[in-house]
Amino acid sequence: MAKKTRITIDEYYCKGCGLCIDACPKGSLAFAERLNEQGYHPVECTDQEACTGCSLCYVACPDSAITIEKE
Amino acid sequence: MENEGSLVIVTGCYGSGKTEYAVNLAAAGEPGRTMLVDLDVVNPYFRSRDLRDEFSARGIDVVAPEGSFSHADVPMLSRRVKGALRNTEKRVIIDVGGDPMGARALARFSGTIKERGYRMRLVVNTRRPQNRTVEEVLDMAARIEAASGLVIQELVANSHLMEETTREVVEEGAAVAGEAARQSGRDFFTVCVLEDLLPRLGEPRVQARIFALKKHLRKPWEPGSGKAWRI
């Protein structure tokens, strides 16, 4: 069974630039429909199960909005 | 006595009073037969060239950068220096810039100077920093010799605090210069005192004769400075 990981994107910081979506090898990140308080479509994780915790999204994020936890 | 030697080089620590001494030597020289060579390339103010007009009127030739360049702050030497050094018809007094740095300007002429023969004097003012003890004076002498390629034969004591000079200051300077001369086998040549101060100082107890200096280089607010002060 794959290790459980959790990815959290802090909407306070996210500017919806999409660099993390591009970085994710599993395609498990996507823009949300809604707007955040800054007026951007924040990114959310659409598939926590697929996430391997590789952290490339974290590496690409210019706003340090992402936290990654592993079991 | 002060007029011994046909080529006298005056060196010393920065601010020792070399220029005033050199100017006094020149002023005491025979009109028409005396040249004062200003080799000071480090000091921008209070240079012997400031007296050129006054001296030339008295038949004393001041060799220094000419015209407007005499107020420049570039290390400039008059093209007449070499000719002056070779002119044995005249007694030549060289006013050198202070410290080993100023003495460097001599090095390029050292060949001509040695050919002619010279006496180099070190002016000592023990009220200047870095010139206060026998050791410091001898160190300064050694460094000036190294920079100029010439030898200092004579020491001149010129300890002073301008108008605030006391007898103790004069005696202290003479003692240090005398001891430095003794230790280094040089001649303790003379002790300078401002002429105006002589009455007040009485007769300082010193081991050399006293040379009364006239004040030629005045600050602009000192009466009589008008003609001399050019910059």
């Binding site: - | 601010g15 000091n43 921008p44 103010y45 209070f46 107020h71 420049a72 702050d73 003012n125 009220r127 200047r128 920093p129 206060r132 002073h160 605090l161 301008m162 605030e164 600050k219 602009p220 607010w221 000192e222 009466p223 400075s225 008008g226 002060w229 910059i231």
Partner: protein, 353 residues
């Protein structure tokens, strides 16, 4: 008190600064202040301090900004054109509320001018100098001793009000030699650890930020007002001047500072012997200017003369002080020419008759 020794103004102010605890000095050579940087080059390492010849005056003043931000007693020096280049940094240092000392050994201007003494940077020094709404205290010496004494004084003022302080000398004061004595002790530095960068702090970590950027106009307005409140305090506490021959009612009042005031004193003395009473008021702080002292000294005189080594700059402050209450005239020389006492005596005598 130590021994009396003979020093150039440039050397004396450097020595005094080191004795007063200045351990950081950054500068760039220029005549007629080069003895100052050379003295520092020689002595600062021996005192265990930092000496660095910067690549430009612009770099030098910014090195000063760095050291001042760390709360160090730091000094720089230059002469007129170099001080112009330093104005960028001085404005930042003033805005960041940092103590620092800047020595200007003025030369002839404008442009490259010449190396002779002038007081042509008066406007620059007393009106802030760089961009923005600020002032710096300006101390104007007129002897080598006073020049030396101003180094510790400048540091004390700089630290008390957290401001850059300018020592406003000229080539004559820098180059001439006079006897000087240094005091045995100096006021200790004010503790900068509440605001300085890189201070080891106890307890919870809180970083220090030094900044002069205030994007919000209301905040910048507030910051500027804080600066000017401090200037009010400086005006209250730091105005300095000398009154010379002013005890008996003079017929003429001369206002003059620095080297020019030295010549004025010779003229005042000469005229006193002739029975002509002339008084001198010599501002020692040029900012804040002793407006009130000038106005008081001018009471009952026939005329107020301002004597400067420029074409008339301090004269404007004198007229502000008098506010039209007294006739004034300006006597000046440009080009680095200095009045002779005889010449000035004659001019003043002309106004007295």
């Amino acid at each position: 008190m130590g021994d009396k020794i003979l020093m150039k103004g440039n050397e004396a102010v450097a020595e005094a600064a080191i004795r007063a605890g200045c351990r950081h000095y950054y500068a760039y050579p220029i005549t007629p202040q080069s003895e100052l940087i050379e003295y520092m080059a020689r002595q600062m390492p021996l005192a265990g301090g930092t000496f660095l010849q910067a690549e430009s005056e612009v770099a030098a003043i910014n090195m000063v900004l760095g050291a001042a931000a760390c709360g160090m007693r730091v000094m720089t020096s230059s002469s007129s054109p170099g001080i112009s280049l330093k104005q960028e940094g001085i404005s930042y240092i003033a805005a960041c509320r940092l103590p620092a000392v800047i020595v200007n050994v003025q030369r002839g201007g404008p442009g490259l001018g010449n190396i002779a003494p002038m007081q042509a940077d008066y406007f620059q020094a007393t009106r802030g100098g760089g961009h923005g709404d600020y002032y710096t205290p300006v101390l104007s010496p007129s002897s080598v001793q006073e020049f030396a004494d101003m180094a510790p004084l400048a540091f004390e003022i700089a630290e008390e009000y957290r401001t850059p302080v300018v020592i406003f000398a000229d080539g004559m004061l820098g180059q001439m030699m006079e006897p000087v004595v240094f005091p045995d002790s100096y006021a200790p530095q004010k503790d900068p650890s509440a605001w300085a960068l890189g201070c080891k702090r106890e307890g919870e970590f809180c970083n220090h930020i030094i900044n002069s950027l205030f994007i919000d106009p209301a905040v910048l307005d507030q910051k500027t007002r804080e600066l000017f409140a401090e200037y009010d305090r400086i005006r209250q506490n730091e105005i300095r001047y000398e009154r010379y021959n002013l005890d008996e009612q003079p017929s003429i009042l001369v206002v003059s500072t620095g080297t020019a005031a030295r010549v004025v004193k010779s003229a005042v003395d000469a005229l006193a012997e002739e029975g002509i009473k002339v008084g001198l008021l010599r501002p020692i702080t040029l900012w804040p200017f002793p407006y009130q002292a000038v106005a008081e000294a001018a009471r009952g005189v026939k005329k107020v003369l301002t004597v400067e080594l420029n074409m008339g700059q301090m004269e404007q402050d004198v007229r502000l002080a008098l506010a039209g209450s007294c006739e004034t005239a300006f006597v000046g020389k440009a080009g680095g020419l200095v009045f002779t006492p005889e010449e000035l005596t004659e001019i003043i005598r002309g106004y007295a008759s």
